[in-house]
């Protein structure tokens, strides 16, 4: 059962690493604008479609 000591310490280290990553992402401003990226994501498709159709025309 002494393995519990090791397991808890390892799990805590992992947890703390994720916690630090979270703080870093907040600091970088990732959560400042929660709306625009959700819209921007959809545009990427639109753009690709457009370029493909353009190529078809020029070819």
């Amino acid at each position: 059962m002494t393995i519990i000591f090791t397991l808890i310490v390892v799990s805590l280290i992992i947890a703390v690493v994720f916690f630090i990553l979270f703080i870093r992402s907040v600091k970088s401003g990732q959560y400042d604008d929660l709306y625009t990226p959700s819209v921007r994501m959809l545009f990427d498709d639109e753009l690709v479609k457009k370029e493909v159709s353009d190529k078809n025309i020029t070819n």
């Binding site: 059962m1 959560y31 921007r40």
Partner: protein
């Protein structure tokens, strides 16, 4: 001819419509935007949303001043010589198409490297190459596709404000520690004397201690500091009992684990701090697209065109304007200083200052005041006062604007916490003395247990959640408040002061009626034909209001700026315009009117009158039940009789009020112990808005300028004002009820504590239950009353 909507902006096209590429456009501007986007293969703009555009404004040379390096450096955020980064506020951003087209600027101009939109803030951040495109060209580029940035004097002394994310970190630390400590403390709750558990006990307890330290030291820091400050000033605010609870919890828990007498209350401690901080987060509702701190600077331009004696033009910063300078004010530009009109015909729109939507005509030699927007061809003026000393801007030297912005109102939670703290301390003292005579060891435990269980977590959470929820409900109903304190302030209001023009009258719709010899339909048709040729705003309004069919023939049309228009239609000579132009006696009242003359007879006049907002009478009637109502108007007394009719009998109506007079009026009423809500709209109300207990700006379009205030009310929901006030009352009653509930929890806890039975598990159950049930109660009940009253 069927009416169609503009392909670009969706406005209904009238006779001026333009057809292009099988699509209809309402004006040339919209067509041009379409052409630009079409040529650059950006028509996807129109696929994303229907009619996403707005009508572009004409700029001709407006942004020349951006070539001036001194001014440009104030606007550009970053410049390393090769690349520059600039951040623009663009009010017209409103849909996903806007985001798309603004983020594809690099397709329109190779000089633009990256452009990123922040939609909630309506901002775009553009990175561009200095050698390929200048700042002015960037601005002109986005203006050409109808996304004109908003550049004002405010940008001149803008401080780069850092976003404060401390609260998020504090919540994160508290939440992280709380979750871990809870798991670590579970084993001891369930198994008391088990072999393995006893071996792990010191390890688990040690970890709990380690986790709780940053929570107390970092996350709870603000509570401890605020309690300390309160005590220094002799105020028992809500943070005093909270801090006391936190410190006692922490102290006793440390004592228990180090003396190995128990497991401590670390889970309750971290849970308490976590919930309190969540309440704080919930309370902080901000509207990123609104600003409540604006003064004249965010409305005034950053630069103007100065004319030198040798007729050369130069762009200078507004702060550098000196007395005696000659300035050129183009169409759509704002006059930044007081001065004398030298030449040109001024048609000044003072709607942002006074709320009056009708432009004022000024002739050369007239004095013009700062804040007017020229809506005619360019004018020249001579400066009489510098920016800071002009008639309007002087208002900002008043003390009201120097004062700290936080109006000192004692919040309901703080006022109750004084008694709460006293009661708890005396209970702790009495119980302590009682147990001290029986058993000294237990006395320490009982006293600390009382202080722990009395920690007003539920009490401290009820106001933030009730007010935080209500501010969101208000926001959905288009009444935007600066912070949650405003709801409390509204609930105390017992006097209302309204501005007249633009506040209780509507800017958009004005009534037009005719006085004089009755006009035949043919004559009206002739008038309409003449109006069609004119671009003057009054002409356009009158044109739209005439429903007759217009005559076709028109010749010798002439527009005399600032005076009127004339022309020959179907053989009759028509003149429309001011009294002097027509040859009629001009009545000296503030009415806006157009005189009509056909051939040699003066027929009469069209009078433009502002209409009162819909439901105004109802609003007054409902409010008058328990409040004083006053109206302050900058205009003359023309409307007195009409206002008296719709107002309750004991109301005050004052006319000819200068901005300072309005401020003084509020001050005087406050000396009579009145809590005042001021409703205004223009810059001239700014002083009164700042002085009043609650200053509310009414806005027809919340994206454009509104003066500094505590709340912004969308004009469309003006009639709901009494409901908002009533909801504020109700919210405060709900908070009071929730206080009673949280006291009940405290009493239950105290029963455990004074009898010496408060085990960690009871504390760990009682605290979250009391907090969560109070939070649920206030959110559910605020939602219910809002639903009932608003719909």
């Amino acid at each position: 001819m069927s009416k169609k909507n503009c392909f670009h902006c969706g406005t209904e096209c009238n006779i001026h419509k333009i057809e292009f590429d099988n699509k209809v456009f309402c004006c040339n501007g919209c067509k041009t935007v379409f052409e630009i986007l079409n040529q650059n293969e950006l028509t996807c703009y129109y696929d994303l949303e229907n009619t996403p555009g707005t009508i572009p404004s004409e700029i001709k040379g407006k942004y020349k001043y951006l070539d001036n390096d001194n001014i440009a450096t104030k606007i550009v955020e970053f410049n390393d010589g090769q690349t520059s980064v600039v951040n623009f506020f663009i009010p017209s951003i409103h849909c996903s198409s806007c985001i798309w087209v603004l983020e594809n600027l690099h397709k329109l101009n190779k000089g633009v490297k990256v452009s990123m939109v922040n939609f909630p803030k309506k901002e775009v951040r553009i990175t561009y190459k200095n050698d390929q495109i200048t700042l002015r060209e960037v601005v002109e580029l986005i203006t050409s596709i109808a996304y004109e940035p908003y550049i004002s004097l405010e940008d001149d002394d803008r401080k780069l404000t850092k976003i404060n994310r401390t609260l998020i970190y504090q919540v994160a630390v508290a939440g992280f520690a709380f979750g871990n400590i809870m798991l670590l403390s579970f084993p001891e709750y369930f198994e008391m004397d088990e072999y393995w558990l006893n071996r792990f006990k010191p390890f688990f307890r040690g970890l709990m201690f380690v986790f709780s330290v940053p929570v107390v030291v970092y996350s709870a820091r603000d509570y401890l500091i605020s309690a300390y400050k309160g005590l220094v000033h002799g105020i028992l605010n809500i943070d005093v009992p909270i801090s006391l609870g936190i410190l006692v919890l922490f102290g006793r828990s440390c004592y228990e684990i180090f003396s190995q007498t128990g497991q401590g209350y670390f889970d309750s401690l971290t849970g308490l701090i976590f919930f309190l901080l969540l309440g704080k987060v919930f309370q902080q509702k901000t509207y990123s697209f609104l600003s409540f701190e604006r003064d004249y600077k965010s409305y005034f331009p950053i630069a103007v065109t100065k004319i030198h004696i040798n007729k050369t033009e130069e762009n200078i910063a507004v702060h550098d304007i000196k007395k005696g300078d000659r300035l050129l004010i183009r169409n759509e530009e704002i006059i930044p200083v007081d001065g004398i009109l030298l030449n040109g015909n001024a048609l000044l729109d003072y709607s942002f200052v006074t709320g009056e939507s009708m432009p004022v005509i000024k002739k050369s030699g007239d004095k013009v005041y700062a804040g007017g927007k020229q809506t005619n061809a360019a004018i020249e003026m001579e400066v009489l006062q510098t920016v800071a000393q002009s008639y309007l801007t002087q208002l900002w030297s008043n003390d009201v604007f120097q004062k700290d912005n936080t109006k000192n109102i004692k919040s309901i939670t703080d006022s109750i916490s004084k008694y709460f703290t006293m009661i708890i301390l005396s209970i702790a003292l009495i119980a302590g003395i009682y147990w001290f005579t029986i058993d000294k060891g237990i006395a320490f435990q009982v006293v600390s247990a009382i202080l722990i269980v009395a920690c007003p977590c539920a009490l401290a959470l009820s106001a933030p959640f009730a007010l935080g929820n209500m501010i969101r409900i208000f926001g959905k109903e288009k009444f935007y408040l600066k912070n949650t304190n405003v709801i409390e302030a509204i609930s105390k209001v017992d006097a209302l002061v309204f501005d007249k023009t633009g506040t209780i009258t509507s800017n958009k719709s004005s009534q037009i009626y005719y006085e004089g010899t009755v006009l035949k339909n043919i004559e009206l048709g002739q008038i309409k034909a003449l109006l069609r040729a004119s671009n003057h705003p009054l002409s356009r309004m009158l044109y739209d209001s005439l429903t007759v069919e217009e005559s076709k023939e028109i010749s010798e049309f002439e527009e005399i700026l600032g005076k009127g228009i004339q022309g020959i239609i179907d053989g009759s000579k028509l003149r429309l315009g001011s009294g002097s132009f027509i040859g009629a006696m001009e009545e000296l009242n503030n009415q806006t009117k157009i005189y009509v003359r056909i051939n040699d007879t003066i027929k009469g006049k069209f009078i433009f009158q502002n209409t009162y907002r819909k439901g105004l009478e109802g609003v007054f009637k409902q409010l008058a039940e328990n409040m004083d109502i006053s109206i302050l108007s900058g205009d003359n007394e023309g409307e007195r009789l009409h206002l008296k009719e719709i107002l309750p009998s004991h109301s005050k109506v004052l006319f000819n009020q200068k901005p300072e007079d309005k401020l003084e009026f509020i001050k005087k009423m406050q000396l009579e112990e009145k809590n005042i809500m001021m409703l205004g709209d223009g810059l001239n109300d700014a002083g009164a808005l700042a002085q009043s207990n609650v200053g509310v700006a009414i806005s027809e379009n919340i994206n454009v300028f509104s003066p500094a205030c505590d709340g912004i009310l969308d004009a469309t929901v003006f009639s709901k004002l009494p409901v908002f006030i009533k909801l504020s009352y109700k919210t405060m009653s709900i908070i009071k009820i929730s206080f009673v509930i949280s006291f009940l929890y405290n009493i239950i806890g105290l029963l455990f504590a004074v009898s010496g039975n408060l085990s960690p598990i009871i504390a760990a159950i009682l605290m979250p239950i009391s907090s969560i049930s109070v939070v649920l109660f206030v959110t559910v009940s605020t939602n219910i009353i809002a639903k009932k009253l608003l719909h």
